[in-house]
């Protein structure tokens, strides 16, 4: 087995993920590109597990399992945030999110709560 083949595959997938995160405007598509990057890292971990003789056998595959669990947690919280954004602004375009001021609905709610 030539380890360079899966390594190069993983590097190209990671580049595609970076490109997708920077290029896409739809938040769901940004999350899909993040999944591509996470999978590239997983492929590197599994390939390193076969090529590098570590003190603990199969630690690379154990790490890949951990990364899969982290990705599942990330996608759950990320999609909850995206759906909340859609509920607030009726759009999931990341360019339209104002970073400096709260949208009107949030400001009104916060004002109510402080009374």
């Amino acid at each position: 087995m030539r380890p360079v083949i899966p390594y190069v595959t993983a590097a190209l997938l990671f580049g595609l993920g970076v490109y997708g995160v920077l290029r896409r405007r739809n938040a769901v598509l940004v999350l899909m590109a993040v999944e591509l990057m996470l999978n590239a890292v997983n492929l590197i971990l599994v390939t390193a597990d076969t090529t590098v003789r570590a003190a603990l056998p199969h630690s690379g595959q154990v790490f890949a399992l951990f990364v899969i669990v982290l990705a599942a947690a990330e996608i759950g919280v990320g999609l909850a945030i995206v759906l909340q954004l859609y509920r607030l602004r009726a759009s999931v375009t990341v360019d339209d999110v104002p970073l400096t001021e709260a949208p009107a609905g949030v400001a009104a709610d916060r004002g109510e709560g402080e009374k």
Partner: protein
């Protein structure tokens, strides 16, 4: 070139091609479906690399759960059927950075490994991996279970509009059922409705 190399090349080409379509297509739903192809090809890669358990977990969790969640999100945000023109921002910087990081990493890894050859180790079956997880990696495993719980609670809090609303009753819902924990949650989540 052995059979494993040919399989790895073919599956890697499928994965990279499907990944390019995920970040390139103008149909939202098709991006999710190409993601299935990409993740499935990666699961095949794991099988060739003798990581059996990781391959099946990949199929179960990624293809089974994550992609379904993403497709749900696509539908819940009322994605248009058919091509949409406003998915991308004009992206020379994105292409430059993406190609730079991908090709840079590829050059680095090619330079590190050349055309060397290794023998595949013993297959990572569920028995061997479970032995490792529950012997050497018990603490990270338990911490991950706490993290999953935290993520679950966080997702529930985020997606219920009545929890973050300080002092108010849920709009249209029965009041009083979650009265005791509300001040704590409201203090944490006060900035978000």
């Amino acid at each position: 070139m052995t059979g494993a190399d040919v399989l790895l090349l073919a599956l890697g080409a499928v994965a990279v091609g499907a990944g390019a379509l995920v970040v390139g297509t103008r149909h939202l739903v098709r991006a999710g479906l190409w993601l299935v192809v990409c993740l499935g090809a990666l699961a095949g890669d794991y099988l060739v690399l003798s990581a059996e358990l990781v391959a099946w977990v990949q199929v179960l969790i990624y293809v089974g759960a994550v992609v379904v969640l993403l497709l749900f999100a696509v539908m819940l945000t009322r994605a248009p059927i058919g091509p949409s023109d406003d998915l991308d921002r004009p992206g020379w910087p994105a292409a430059l950075i993406g190609a730079g990081s991908g090709l840079g990493l590829a050059v680095l890894l090619v330079d590190a490994f050349r055309w060397s050859r290794v023998d595949l180790p013993a297959a990572g079956t569920a028995e061997r991996l479970g032995e490792q997880v529950f012997r050497s990696w018990v603490l990270p495993f338990e911490v991950l279970s706490v993290l999953l719980l935290a993520a679950l609670v966080g997702a529930v809090v985020l997606s219920r509009p009545d929890i973050g609303r300080p002092g108010g009753t849920p709009p249209g819902g029965p009041a009083g059922a979650v009265e005791p924990p509300r001040p704590v949650v409201a203090a944490d989540e006060g900035g978000r409705a």
